[in-house]
C-alpha cells in the first residue's frame, strides 16, 4: 500500500513538474512576444515614417532643386520629365497671364481715364463759370451748392467706373481694374489741385475757400473710387490666395518671378508627392477669405475654391490644375540617399541631414575620447589600487550621485562652468559639448568598468602575482585583457547614450542650423546634432508639417546609430569572449 501511494505521489509530482515546466516555457514565450510587440509598436511607425525620408515619390521640383542648388547631374529621363512637366504648365501660365492682364484691360483703362480727365477738366473748363458763381456765395449756401456741383461734375465718371466694375466682375478679371482705380484715386487730389490753380487764374480765392473747394470736389469721386476698389478687393484677395497656393505647389511660374524670390521654399514647388497633395488640399482646393460676420467684425473663413470661383476664369484654372496635377509634377518613386549625405537647405525643407549626423559623430566620438580613458583609469584605481578609506568611499559616493544627476543639469553645468568660467571656447562648441557628455557618461563607464574588473576571476590575479608580476604588469597583461569584453560593452552602451542625449548639448554644443563642421573647427564651433535637431524641428520650426518626414528620418537615423552601437557591443563582446574561451 505504502509503496503504491508513494509511487502515485511521485507520479503526480512528476506530472506537476512537467506542467509547471511547460507553463513557465509558455510564460517566457509570452513575455518575449509582448516585448517584441511593444518594440514593434514603437519602432514600426518610426521605421516606416523614417524610411519615407529616403524613399518617396519625388516630383520634378525635387530634381530641379538638386540640379540647380547641389549641381547634381540628372538622368536624361529625369530631364525629360522636367521638360514634360514644364510643358504641361504652359497653359496654366497662359491662363494666369491672361487673367491678370486681360486684352481689354488697356481699353478699360483708357475709357476710365478719359472720362476721369473730362470730369476733372470741367473745373477750369466748361463748368468754370458755374463754379465762379458758387464760390462767390456766402458759406452755408456755398457748401451746399459745391456739393451739388461736385456730384454733377463726377456723375458721368462714376457711371463709367460702376459699369467697368460690373463688366470686370463678370469676367472675373478684377485685378487690372482695382489697380487702375487705386491709381486714379492717387492722381485725383493732384489733378483737382492743378485744375483749381488753373481756375484761380480767373478768380482769386481766399485760402480757406480754396481748401473747401478742393475738399468738396475730391470727396465724391474719391469715395466712389475707393468703394468700387474695395468691392473688387475681396475677390482679388481670394485670387491672390489661390495663386500663392498654386505657386507653393508648383513653384514660381515665371523666371522673373523666381528671380524676385529669395527663400528656397518659394523658389521651388513641393518636392514630394505627399506634401504636394497636402498643399493641393490646404491651399489650392480651399482658400481662406475675409468676411464680415453679422456684428461687422472681419473673420477669416475657409471656403472651397471650386465654389468660390465657380463660373469664373479662376474656376477654369482650378479645373486645369485638378486635371493636370500629375502632369505638372510628374511624381516618380525615388530613393534619395542624399538624405544622409546632403546639407540641409532652407531649414531642412530641402536637402539632407549630413551635418547632424556628422555633429552627432563628433560629439559622441569626442565624449568617448575623453570619458573612456578617464573612466577606465578611475575604475582601475577603484578596483585595484584604492584601499578602503574615507576618501575613497566619498569618491565612490560622488560617482554614484553623479550617475543620478538629470542630464539638463549637466547641460547647465557645461554652460556655466566650461564655457562661462573655464572658457574652453568663446561660446557653444563641440569641445564643450563633448566634455559635458563625457561627464554625463563617466559615472556609468566607471561603474561598468569597475564591475568588469571585479568580475575577473581571482585565480588570474593569483597566477599573475604568483609568477612575479608587479601590480601594473598584472593589470596590464592579465586583468585588463580579461575584463576588456565587459568593459567595451559598458563603454559602447554609454556611447549610445551620449549619441542620443539632448539636454547636455542644448547649451553647450548644439545649433539648429549650420553646415557640416570641418574637423579643425570642433574646438570653437557649435554643430547641429541629431537629438537636438529632432527636438528643434518639432518644437521650433515654423513649418513643422513640411519637415515631418525629415524629423522622422532623423529619429530613425539616431535609433539606427544607437542600435548599431549596441549591436556592435554585443558582437565585440561575443568575439572577444570566444577568443578567450579557446
Amino acid at each position: 500500500m505504502g509503496v503504491i501511494a508513494k509511487k502515485n505521489v511521485e507520479k503526480m509530482n512528476d506530472s506537476t513538474r512537467k506542467v509547471l515546466d511547460k507553463s513557465f516555457t509558455a510564460l517566457s514565450y509570452c513575455a518575449l512576444a509582448a516585448m517584441g510587440a511593444a518594440v514593434l509598436l514603437f519602432l514600426l511607425p518610426i521605421a516606416i515614417n523614417g524610411a519615407g525620408a529616403v524613399f518617396f515619390n519625388a516630383t520634378v521640383e525635387h530634381w530641379k532643386f538638386l540640379e540647380e542648388n547641389l549641381g547634381r547631374e540628372l538622368q536624361p529621363e529625369v530631364s525629360e520629365r522636367i521638360r514634360l512637366a514644364d510643358e504641361a504648365r504652359v497653359p496654366l501660365v497662359q491662363m494666369i497671364d491672361e487673367f491678370e492682364n486681360p486684352p481689354f484691360a488697356a481699353e478699360l483703362e483708357e475709357s476710365l481715364r478719359k472720362s476721369f480727365g473730362d470730369a476733372v477738366k470741367g473745373i477750369s473748363g466748361a463748368r468754370a463759370d458755374e463754379l465762379s458763381k458758387i464760390v462767390s456765395l456766402e458759406n452755408p449756401e456755398r457748401a451746399r451748392r459745391l456739393k451739388e456741383f461736385s456730384a454733377r461734375l463726377w456723375a458721368s465718371f462714376v457711371d463709367t467706373a460702376q459699369k467697368a466694375r460690373a463688366k470686370s466682375g463678370e469676367d472675373g478679371t478684377s485685378i487690372p481694374l482695382e489697380k487702375i482705380l487705386h491709381a486714379l484715386e492717387e492722381e485725383l487730389t493732384d489733378r483737382v489741385k492743378a485744375e483749381i490753380s488753373n481756375f484761380e487764374k480767373r478768380a482769386k480765392l481766399k485760402f480757406s475757400v480754396r481748401q473747401q473747394v478742393r475738399r468738396a470736389l475730391c470727396a465724391p469721386a474719391s469715395k466712389e473710387l475707393l468703394s468700387e476698389a474695395e468691392k473688387l478687393h475681396a475677390q482679388n484677395a481670394a485670387y491672390q490666395e489661390f495663386k500663392s497656393g498654386v505657386e507653393e505647389l508648383l513653384g514660381p511660374l515665371s523666371a522673373e518671378r523666381k528671380e524676385e524670390l529669395k527663400l528656397l521654399r518659394q523658389r521651388y514647388g513641393q518636392p514630394r508627392l505627399d506634401l504636394a497633395e497636402n498643399v493641393m488640399d490646404k491651399s489650392v482646393r480651399t482658400i481662406s477669405v475675409r468676411e464680415r460676420d453679422s456684428a461687422g467684425t472681419e473673420i477669416l473663413k475657409r471656403v472651397s475654391s471650386a465654389e468660390f470661383f465657380k463660373g469664373t476664369k479662376v474656376g477654369e484654372m482650378l479645373r486645369y490644375i485638378e486635371g493636370n496635377f500629375t502632369a505638372m509634377l510628374r511624381p516618380e518613386f525615388t530613393a534619395y540617399w542624399g538624405f544622409f549625405f546632403d546639407d540641409p537647405y532652407d531649414s531642412n525643407i530641402f536637402g539632407g541631414i549630413w551635418p547632424m549626423i556628422l555633429g552627432t559623430f563628433y560629439l559622441t566620438a569626442g565624449s568617448m575620447i575623453i570619458a573612456a580613458p578617464l573612466g577606465i583609469c578611475a575604475a582601475i584605481y577603484f578596483s585595484e589600487y584604492a584601499k578602503p578609506c574615507r576618501l575613497v568611499s566619498i569618491l565612490q559616493m560622488c560617482v554614484g550621485t553623479l550617475a543620478g544627476v538629470p542630464s539638463i543639469v549637466f547641460g547647465l553645468f557645461g554652460l556655466a562652468f566650461l564655457i562661462n568660467t573655464l572658457k574652453v571656447s568663446d561660446s557653444k562648441s563641440v569641445l564643450a559639448g563633448a566634455i559635458t557628455l563625457a561627464l554625463l557618461v563617466l559615472p556609468t563607464i566607471i561603474r561598468s568598468c569597475e564591475e568588469a574588473l571585479k568580475a575577473v576571476p581571482r585565480s588570474y590575479r593569483e597566477a599573475a602575482f604568483g609568477l612575479g608580476a608587479g601590480k601594473w604588469k598584472a593589470i596590464r597583461s592579465v586583468i585588463l585583457p580579461a575584463a576588456l569584453p565587459s568593459m567595451l560593452t559598458g563603454i559602447i552602451i554609454s556611447m549610445g547614450r551620449a549619441a542620443g542625449e539632448t539636454a547636455p548639448i542644448i547649451f553647450t554644443a548644439a545649433t539648429s542650423a549650420g553646415a557640416a563642421l570641418a574637423l579643425g573647427d570642433v574646438f570653437t564651433q557649435p554643430t547641429p546634432a541629431l537629438p537636438w535637431n529632432i527636438y528643434n524641428l518639432c518644437s521650433e520650426h515654423e513649418m513643422a508639417e513640411r519637415v515631418a518626414h525629415v524629423q522622422y528620418g532623423m529619429v530613425l537615423t539616431l535609433i539606427a546609430i544607437v542600435l548599431a552601437l549596441n549591436f556592435a557591443a554585443i558582437l565585440i563582446r561575443a568575439k572577444l569572449q570566444r577568443k578567450m574561451k579557446a
Binding site: 588570474y460 593569483e462 597566477a463 599573475a464 604568483g466 609568477l467 612575479g468 608580476a469 608587479g470 579557446a582
Partner: protein
C-alpha cells in the same frame, strides 16, 4: 568540538612540541624556508597558530592535515599570496634563506620570482600556451624570441607536456584538458626558475594518470628545487615527499621524515589521521 574529543591526547601547544621534532629540524642552513612561531590571522580568526617548521633545501615537504586546518594559508604565506586577502595579518618569523619574508622592505615581486606556486585548480591565463609559459620570463625582461622559445620548450618538457602540445603552442590554453592545464601551470611556474616551488593540492582535480605524471615530475624536480606540497592523499604524501608536516586546527602537530612519520608517528593525532580515523 567532537573532533577534539576523539583526540587522545589533545594536541599539545606548539612550544611543548616533542623534542624529537626539534632535533629533526637540524641546522638552519638546511632549510630554504623556515617558520619560527609563525601565526596567521584572518581578521581576528587565528588560522595558523605559532607554527615552527621549515622546508629543507632540495627536498620535498608534504603538508597534510584535515580540511580547514590552515595548510593552504601557511603555504600561501611563503610567497605572500595572502597579501591579496583583505584583513590577513601575520606574526612571528617566516624566512627564505634567512631573510624575513614579511620584512617591510622586502621586494614582494622578487620574492615571488624565487618562490613559485601551483594552485589547487589549474588557472591558465586566457592566452595561448606559449604566452602562458613565457609570461614569467617576459616579466623578467627576456624578450628575445629564441631565448623565450628555449625557455618555453624546456619548461614544457620538464612538466612532461611538450610532446602533447608542441604542435599547438599558439592555441588557447583553456582548450587543454584539466590535467594538461595543471602541468602547463607547473611549466609556467618552472619557467621563472624559482628556488622554491609551492604546490597546493596540485592533483586534486586530476585523474590517476595525470596524477602519476605530476608525481613523477615532482620526483624529478626534487634535488634541484625545494618543494612543498599540500595533499589530502596520504599515499601521495608518502610516495613523493621526504619530510611531512601534519597540521591540525592551525597548529603544527608533528613534523618529521616521511618514512618515520608514516611508520612511527609520535603523536596519537597524527596516527589517527594517517590511518584514516578522522579528517
Amino acid at each position: 568540538m567532537t573532533q577534539t574529543e576523539t583526540l587522545q591526547p589533545p594536541p599539545e601547544p606548539a612550544e611543548k612540541r616533542p623534542a624529537a621534532t626539534a632535533a629533526e629540524c637540524g641546522q638552519d642552513e638546511d632549510f630554504a624556508v623556515r617558520a619560527e612561531n609563525f601565526s596567521v590571522y584572518y581578521g581576528s580568526f587565528h588560522a595558523v597558530k605559532n607554527v615552527s617548521t621549515g622546508f629543507r633545501r632540495g627536498k620535498v615537504t608534504a603538508i597534510i592535515g584535515p580540511s580547514g586546518c590552515g595548510k593552504s594559508t601557511f603555504l600561501r604565506c611563503v610567497n605572500r599570496m595572502n597579501d591579496l586577502v583583505e584583513g590577513c595579518t601575520t606574526s612571528g618569523l617566516l624566512a627564505l634563506d634567512g631573510v624575513d619574508i614579511y620584512h617591510k622592505r622586502l621586494d614582494v615581486v622578487e620574492l615571488r620570482r624565487r618562490v613559485g606556486m601551483v594552485f589547487q585548480r589549474p588557472n591558465p591565463f586566457p592566452k595561448s600556451i606559449y604566452e602562458n609559459v613565457a609570461f614569467g620570463a617576459r616579466l623578467k625582461g627576456v624578450s628575445s624570441r629564441s631565448k623565450l622559445d628555449e625557455i618555453v620548450e624546456s619548461s614544457l618538457r620538464r612538466a612532461a607536456l611538450w610532446d602533447e602540445v608542441k604542435d599547438r603552442l599558439n592555441s588557447n590554453a583553456l582548450g587543454m584538458s584539466g590535467g594538461q592545464q595543471q602541468r602547463m601551470c607547473i611549466a609556467r611556474a618552472l619557467a621563472i626558475s624559482p628556488e622554491v616551488l609551492l604546490m597546493d593540492e596540485p592533483c586534486s582535480a586530476l585523474d590517476p594518470k595525470s596524477t602519476a605524471r605530476i608525481e613523477d615530475l615532482i620526483a624529478e624536480l626534487s634535488g634541484e628545487y625545494t618543494i612543498a606540497i599540500v595533499t589530502h592523499n596520504m599515499q601521495q604524501a608518502a610516495r613523493v615527499s621526504d619530510f611531512t608536516a601534519f597540521f591540525y586546527e592551525g597548529s603544527l602537530i608533528e613534523y618529521g621524515a616521511t618514512d618515520r612519520l608514516f611508520t612511527n608517528p609520535q603523536c596519537a593525532a597524527t596516527n589517527d589521521y594517517i590511518t584514516g580515523r578522522f579528517g
